[in-house]
């Protein structure tokens, strides 16, 4: 980065020797802006899908239930045993036996709201909330079989697994798009710099003729292109972040899905794009300029 920062200080005399190439300049700025815009969106997409996969994965792991079907006299004891086992299980944040009202609400879709829960041999349900690590379902099942034979653990994972896989896939796609876009930006900036240098062969020849050093000549071009690419990418990034911020939020509290956007420190990630573009432009132009100069005696 140090040589780039040096460029910012500038050398107006060296700067003026490069003609203001209207179209290549606009092309570079626009390319950098457009690709930065797309890159921010791809970044937002892959962050959002990562979050989604995370949330779905968490929901998946956390949605465990234990069902205790036991004769009425053993029911309280087994429930007690189950809760004790769960308290002793690492990875379980909390466990709670559902009350009658809650059980009735859960069954309402099947029986209607008037179900006489108390008169039915309905199993007691225990809701398990995991912490981040998750617990060892197989271990819990073994202990339950020994200490609470009427208890069955149902961790629901079958239901949500494809969703998580889908979110992961989307995430991968977002990352792939991001990589592709950054590579495309690099290639385009390199080619635009090459085009500008090719168009300015005569400028370089004149400068060599009057005794200018290669570094002096290259520097003027490199400075232009680095600033243009950085500027363009900054504009594109700003626009894109604005657009992302303006997207209507999707995650109303507790919603199943997450919105496209950044959260917290995620907002800092896109800020890497303009310096990246500038860095690419710096090296691409430097390389192209030095190569072009080699051909001028």
């Amino acid at each position: 980065m140090v040589p780039i920062l040096g460029l910012l200080r500038g050398d107006t005399s060296a700067d003026r020797v490069v003609p203001p190439t209207g179209f290549t300049a606009r092309l570079t700025v626009f390319t950098a802006a457009a690709m930065a815009f797309l890159a921010v969106f791809a970044l937002a997409l892959s962050l959002a899908t990562a979050r989604l996969a995370d949330r779905w994965g968490t929901a998946l792991a956390q949605g465990a239930t234990i069902r205790i079907s036991a004769p009425a006299e053993q029911r309280a004891a087994q429930t007690e045993a189950v809760l004790r086992i769960l308290r002793e299980t690492p990875g379980v944040a909390s466990a709670r036996a559902l009350g009658e009202d809650e059980q009735r609400a859960l069954l309402a879709p099947w029986f209607g709201p008037d179900l006489p829960v108390e008169t039915l041999p309905i199993p007691q349900l225990v809701e398990v909330v995991e912490d981040g690590r998750g617990f060892d379902a197989q271990g819990v099942r073994l202990r339950l079989r020994a200490e609470a034979p009427g208890a069955v653990l149902d961790d629901h994972s079958r239901w949500r697994r494809p969703l998580v896989r889908a979110a992961d896939r989307l995430n991968l796609l977002g990352l792939g798009a991001l990589t592709l876009i950054v590579l495309t930006m690099a290639a385009m900036i390199t080619l635009a710099a090459g085009a500008a240098l090719a168009a300015n062969r005569q400028v370089m020849a004149v400068l060599r003729l009057v005794g200018a050093r290669d570094t002096y000549i290259a520097r003027a071009f490199v400075r232009r292109f680095t600033l243009r690419a950085g500027l363009g990418a900054a504009v594109g990034t700003a626009l894109s972040m604005g657009a992302v911020a303006a997207l209507p939020r999707m995650d109303a509290a507790g919603s199943f899905l997450t919105g496209l956007g950044f959260s917290g420190a995620g907002w800092l990630l896109p800020l890497l794009i303009p310096p990246l573009a500038a860095l690419i432009a710096f090296w691409a132009t430097r390389y192209a300029a030095m190569k072009a100069l080699k051909e001028i005696p």
Binding site: S13, A14, R16, V17, P19, P20, Q202, V203, A205, V206, L207, R208, L209, V210, G211, A212, R213, D214, Y216, L293, P297
Partner: protein
């Protein structure tokens, strides 16, 4: 200050210059003539190291050219003023900046040389055109501007390729007298030209050697001019 010894050169293998010796000593004045396509421009390009000889040695200011890197060549060119035959400029910069370009390229402030620049512009008759862009100049004006640019760093050697091809006779004489004056200050001058009248005129002012390039060889033209 620039010496060629045993130099041969050819484009694409076609030999053009063969086994040529030339020494541009301080205070010397040379004319270079020869038919169109004889290799005059090529010889000048060899002198300011734009071309590398196929055979033979070139040394500039006492150093063999081969030992100079690209930066060394750049440094050298600041001591050699060159007027190209097809005088090229930076078309986006006004004439003044173009003439001051050697100053900028060698890191000298233009302000310190403002007087030199305006004196030069006046001498070559371009004092009113300092703000014009090169494409807005006439053919002769461009040639004069190229000469001014070549002289701005006060070089030790002046190589001019057909510097009067597009200017009228009076202006030719004016430019010639400028070069003669610089020559009297000890600078080496080499002018490639077809204009025999100019050569005759110069001979009345300085001790000029006239070299004729023909079939790849240099010979000194005598009184037969």
């Amino acid at each position: 200050m620039i010496e060629l010894s045993g130099v041969s050169y050819g484009y694409d293998g076609r030999p053009l210059i063969q086994d040529l010796d030339l020494a541009l000593a301080p205070g010397s004045f040379h004319f270079l003539t020869g038919p169109s396509g004889a290799g005059k421009t090529t010889l000048l390009k060899l002198c300011y190291l734009e071309l590398t000889p196929d055979k033979g040695q070139i040394s500039a200011f006492g150093k063999p050219a081969k030992q100079l890197g690209r930066d060394g060549i750049a440094q050298l060119r600041r001591r050699v003023g060159v007027v190209h035959q097809d005088c090229r400029f930076l078309d986006h910069l006004p004439l003044l900046d173009n003439i001051a370009l050697p100053l900028a390229a060698s890191g000298q402030p233009i302000e310190a040389h403002a007087a030199d620049i305006s004196a030069l512009l006046e001498w070559v008759g371009l004092d009113g055109r300092a703000d014009a862009l090169p494409p807005q100049l006439s053919g002769g004006e461009r040639q004069r501007a190229a000469l001014a640019r070549a002289l701005i760093l006060s070089p030790d050697v002046i190589l001019a390729d057909e510097p009067t091809g597009n200017v009228d006779w009076e202006m030719s004489l004016r430019l010639l007298s400028l070069l003669v004056e610089l020559n009297r200050m000890g600078k080496a001058v080499l002018i490639a030209t077809h204009d025999l009248n100019l050569i005759r005129q110069a001979k009345s002012q300085v001790q000029a050697r006239v070299l004729r390039l023909r079939a790849g060889r240099l010979d000194v033209a005598g009184a037969d001019l």
